[in-house]
């Protein structure tokens, strides 16, 4: 399954492993944020196992099949939150859409 980007077909897989390696590691697992070193707000995104566990186990952050109820998307879009994530540079819309698609597909550990 693929998401549509604003400029053309985005055929990237809505797979957690892919999202973790290409979006979460470079943008979120930095030293002062969601690395093992800091684990801001108890959330670690530095390994696929820790990231999946943190995102799905933290109440309300990711609700499988329900993007509208998943707080992660509100954080990424800066909707109804004090500070959007990542706090120094927001993600491209197409990346957020890919994460939304993963949640819509059941937020599986795939």
């Amino acid at each position: 399954m693929s998401a549509m980007s604003c400029g053309g077909i985005d055929d990237r897989p809505a797979s957690f492993r892919y999202i973790h390696a290409t979006i979460l590691i470079p943008n979120c697992a930095t030293s002062g944020c969601h690395s093992k070193l800091t684990a801001a707000f108890g959330i670690r995104l530095d390994t696929p196992e820790a990231a999946y566990s943190s995102l799905v186990a933290t109440a309300g952050l990711v609700v499988p099949n329900q993007p509208d109820r998943s707080r992660l998307l509100y954080l990424l879009r800066g909707d109804e939150v004090a500070i959007p994530m990542p706090p120094n540079q927001v993600l491209p819309d197409v990346d957020i859409e890919l994460i939304e698609l993963w949640i819509l597909d059941g937020a599986m550990n795939n």
Binding site: S5, I25, S31, G32, P87, V90, P92, D93, V94, M108
Partner: protein, 386 residues
């Protein structure tokens, strides 16, 4: 002594304020290469590719040609350590304004950005180099106090002379690319050289006035890894041209982790226009990332990424450095809307030996403007080195 009193008082006040409210890296400014007359980074630094503790020549330059005066020596010249010992310290206090369009408005933080102590013990051609410090963060984190104690670098080095071969083993960044001091720079952040991503490894190379080459094999920090967790190798070559006023270089890095492989190649260039006191720097890196399949994920097409940097620095007078630049990071060249651009401007005022006041501004733009309004970041930084 009286002339020194005001800057010291200002530094102490800012240091105290920033320490009680809330570290980045100990890198050097590559802008000083050629513009100060030095052609090699290790003319001023003990590390073979620059960064970290400065040597006696570097301390002299800091007082004579880089700042607006003063004694750059350790303790402002009050005491000379014995030849086998070199010590130093870096403190950076920062005030940050970060506006990413949050509903609560811009974020404001005052925090200690860097607090590092350096020690170098030398016996014959060998030296033990240790950096220990406290890492700061602009945001309060609910972590243990231990997590704030860090050692960015610690390595044993064999180096008979500053020009010639060397080998070192321990924790340090592999020499690669321009090696900008500002860690948000895309050429650092997205190539495996972000804050505290120093790796363990063995590095060897050769440094001369005309060229230098460095090769490194590395593995991630096994205690508290940050960022990419690949094992691999990196090489960097730089050749000085145009009578020591310019250089070109090339770098490559391969890193294999449990989740992905990253293979990067790139080039750099520097040119100092002497009459106008202008330094131009550029870097281009291309990375091919392959995501490793596992039991449930069957894999995906390799991803081609691009990171670029271009900047100009002007030295209008001794003690002042003003610059601006543009960077791009495209995380997947086949997908539209994922590229990020950033425009930067900075001014560094070295108003007295040991002191620096820096204003750094950055405006990242996501997806060529399709990702919302640009963010705006401004940071005022007071740096003191001992």
């Amino acid at each position: 002594m009286r002339k020194l009193a005001l800057p010291i008082v200002v530094a102490v006040v800012i240091a105290v304020v920033t320490t009680v409210t809330g570290s980045a890296t100990a890198w050097a400014y590559p802008q000083f290469q050629y513009s100060t007359g030095a052609v090699r980074c290790n003319q001023c630094h003990y590390a073979p590719a620059g960064g970290g503790l400065i040597n006696n020549y570097g301390r002299d330059e800091a007082g004579d040609t880089i700042s607006m005066g003063g004694d750059g020596a350790f303790l402002h010249g009050a005491w000379d350590p014995p030849k086998w010992l070199a010590i130093g310290a870096d403190y950076r206090g920062a005030a940050l304004i970060n506006d990413v369009g949050a509903t609560d408005g811009a974020e404001f933080a005052v925090f200690p950005m860097q607090a590092d102590l350096y020690t170098r013990l030398a016996v014959s051609d060998f030296s033990l180099n240790l950096t220990v410090g406290y890492r700061g963060s602009p945001r309060q984190r609910d972590t243990t106090p231990f997590s704030y104690a860090i050692s960015r670098e610690h390595y044993l080095m064999w180096r008979p002379k500053s020009q010639g071969p060397y080998v070192r083993a321990g924790r340090f960044f592999a020499p690669f690319g321009l090696r900008l001091a500002e860690h948000p720079s895309f050429t650092r952040r997205y190539t495996g050289f972000n804050t505290l991503e120093e790796t363990y490894g063995v590095s060897g190379g050769m440094v001369t006035n005309d060229w230098e080459v460095h090769g490194t094999v590395f593995m991630p920090d096994f205690l508290r890894p940050v960022g990419q967790k690949g094992k691999g190798a990196a090489v960097f070559f730089e050749q000085r041209i145009l009578d020591g006023k310019a250089s070109w270089g090339a770098q490559a890095r391969a890193s294999l982790a449990k989740i992905d492989g990253r293979y990067t190649g790139g080039v750099i260039g520097k040119y100092y226009l002497e009459g106008a006191n202008l330094l131009f720097m550029a870097e281009i890196d291309v990375t091919r990332q392959t995501i490793r399949p596992n039991g449930t994920f069957t894999g995906a097409a390799p991803i081609n990424q691009l990171v670029t940097h271009a900047s100009t620095t002007w030295f209008p007078m001794q003690g002042l450095m003003v610059g601006g630049g543009w960077e791009r990071y495209d995380q997947d060249l086949s997908i539209k809307g994922v590229a990020r651009d950033a425009f930067t401007a900075q001014a560094n005022w070295f108003f007295h030996a040991h002191f620096e006041l820096m204003l750094y501004t950055r405006m990242p733009i996501v997806g060529a403007g399709t990702g919302g309004a640009p963010a705006r970041v401004a940071m005022l930084q007071l740096h003191y080195y001992l």
